[in-house]
Symmetry: C2
Subunit: 266 residues, 2 copies
C-alpha cells in the first residue's frame, strides 16, 4: 500500500466569513492535490472562524448544509478528501464539529468534540457523546478528534484500541500552550503507535493568540512534518509500512494490563 | 508547606555486588542530606544491578531482608527517606520491586512492577498486581512505579486520580529510547499535573546501554532538574504551591469524561 500523502492547512482564514474561507479551502485543495496529497486537513472551526462570539450560533449549519455541499464540490474538483472544522447546528444545539468529505464528495464521517475547553466553548457548544469516530480512506483507518480532546490520553488510547492509523486533530491552540503542539502530540503518536495530524490556527484572533506549530507526528515520536508560526500548507506521508514496523518494535497495545485500569472509568 | 527537596541518584553502582551498592547509597545519602534533601531515589534494581543474568534470583531477598535493614540504618543516620530498586523474593517468586524506607528506618511502601519489559524481564520476574502504591512523606503524597510502567498513560492517570503529588520512577532505560526520558516523562507530569522523578542507570551493562537523562519533571512539563549521561546526583524541589497553582490553571482531572473511556478496561 502506498503512503497516504496528507496536507495540513495551517491558517485562520478570514474569521466571520464563510465565503472567504471556502475560497481559501478551494485554493489549498488545488495546491495539495498538485503536490500529490489525497487528504487535506483544516483547523478547528475553520469554516467560520473560532473567536467570532455569537456568530458561532448564527453561522452554524447542519452536517448536510450548504458548506458541506460546497466542500463536496471542491473535493470532487481536486480528487482529494477534506476534513474541515465547523459549528454544527442540530435543532436547538450547536456542536463544535469536524466533518470528513471523501474525494467524490460523500460525507464520510462527522465528529462532535467531546471535551470542551474553558468557559468560551462551554457557553456556546453542546459536547458530543461519541468518543471514537472513524473512517477508512485508501486502506488507512482515520480517526477524528478536536483540539483539547487530544490532551486526554484516554481519548487517543481508545482510538488506538479501535485500530486508528492516522488521527486527524483540527485545533485552535493558543499561547502559552506551545508544549501541547511540541511535546504532547508527538508523545501521543509514540505511546499509541499511530500518526497524528495536528492542524492549528495561527496568529491573533479576539482574545487569543494561536501558535501554529501544526505537525504530522509519526509513531517514533518525531514530526514527519512541522509548520512554523505563520500561514502554511504542510505536506507529510503516512506510511503503512513504517507503522507496521514501529508497532512490532513497540508493542504497547499488547503489553497493556486492562484489568489494572478500572479506576479510569469510575 | 516547604518544598520537598529530592535527590536523584543516577548511577549503575557496581552490578553484581550488593555490598558495593550499599556503600554507594550510603555516600549518596550523606551528600543528599548535606544538600537539604529529604528523599533519595535510586534506579531500578540498584541494589544488585540489572543485567546480572541468573544472579537476579540468587541475590533476591524479601522486603524485610538484610538490605532493608542496612538501608534503614543509612536512612536513620542521614535523616532522609530512601527509595531503592531490588529483586524481591516472595517464596518461589521473584518480583522487580522498589521499596521506600522513611527517615527513621521504617518500611513505608513496597511496589512490584506491573508491566514487565521484554523477554529479559518476563523470564526472571513475576509481575505485580497492585497498580497504585502510595505513601505520605512530609505532607507530599508519593507514588511508586518502575520504568516501563510509566510509558503506559493509564498507569500514571490512576496515580493522579488517587492524589499522587510526586511519582517516583526508578528506571533502567536504554538506547535507543531516549525519547521516553526526554519527552514521555515530562508529558506525563503535565497531563496529570504532578511531579515525576525518573531516575535512570547509566552506561553499558551486559547487552544494554543505559542513557541516564534522569529528571524531575514538573506539572508545567519542564524538567526542574535534568541529568546528563554519566553518574550524577541531581537535586530538585517538589513545591506544593507550584502544584496547586498549576492544577488550578490546567484542570485536566476535572474535565475528564470517564463514561467515554470504558473501552480502556475491556
Amino acid at each position: 500500500m502506498p503512503p497516504l500523502r496528507t496536507a495540513l492547512l495551517q491558517s485562520s482564514g478570514r474569521p466571520g466569513s464563510v465565503a472567504a474561507n471556502l475560497d481559501v479551502l478551494e485554493e489549498a485543495a488545488a495546491q495539495a492535490a498538485a503536490s500529490g496529497a489525497r487528504l487535506l486537513v483544516c483547523p478547528e472551526m475553520f469554516l467560520t472562524g473560532y473567536a467570532i462570539g455569537d456568530d458561532v450560533a448564527r453561522l452554524a449549519e447542519p452536517a448536510d448544509g450548504p458548506a458541506a455541499e460546497a466542500l463536496a464540490a471542491t473535493a470532487r474538483r481536486h480528487g482529494l478528501a477534506i476534513l474541515y472544522g465547523y459549528p454544527e447546528r442540530d435543532g436547538g444545539r450547536v456542536h463544535n464539529s469536524a466533518q470528513l468529505i471523501d474525494a467524490v464528495g460523500g460525507r464520510l464521517a462527522n465528529y462532535r468534540k467531546t471535551h470542551l475547553y474553558g468557559e468560551f466553548e462551554r457557553e456556546r457548544f453542546t459536547p458530543g457523546d461519541r468518543a471514537v469516530v472513524q473512517a477508512d480512506l485508501d486502506g488507512v483507518r482515520l480517526g477524528i478528534m478536536i483540539c483539547y480532546d487530544v490532551e486526554f490520553p484516554e481519548n487517543v488510547r481508545a482510538h488506538a484500541l479501535a485500530g486508528t492509523d492516522l488521527l486527524l486533530v483540527p485545533t485552535a491552540q493558543m499561547r502559552p500552550f506551545e508544549f501541547v503542539a511540541e511535546s504532547v502530540v508527538p508523545v501521543r503518536a509514540f505511546e499509541n503507535q499511530l500518526y497524528v495530524a495536528y492542524v492549528n490556527r495561527t496568529g491573533p484572533e479576539g482574545p487569543f493568540d494561536f501558535v501554529g506549530l501544526s505537525c504530522l507526528a509519526g509513531p517514533d515520536g518525531t514530526a514527519a512534518a512541522r509548520a512554523g508560526r505563520g500561514e502554511e500548507l504542510v505536506l507529510g506521508d503516512v506510511d503503512p509500512r513504517v507503522l507496521a514496523a514501529s508497532r512490532a518494535a513497540n508493542p504497547y497495545l499488547g503489553d497493556r494490563r486492562p484489568g489494572l485500569y478500572t479506576d479510569l472509568t469510575g
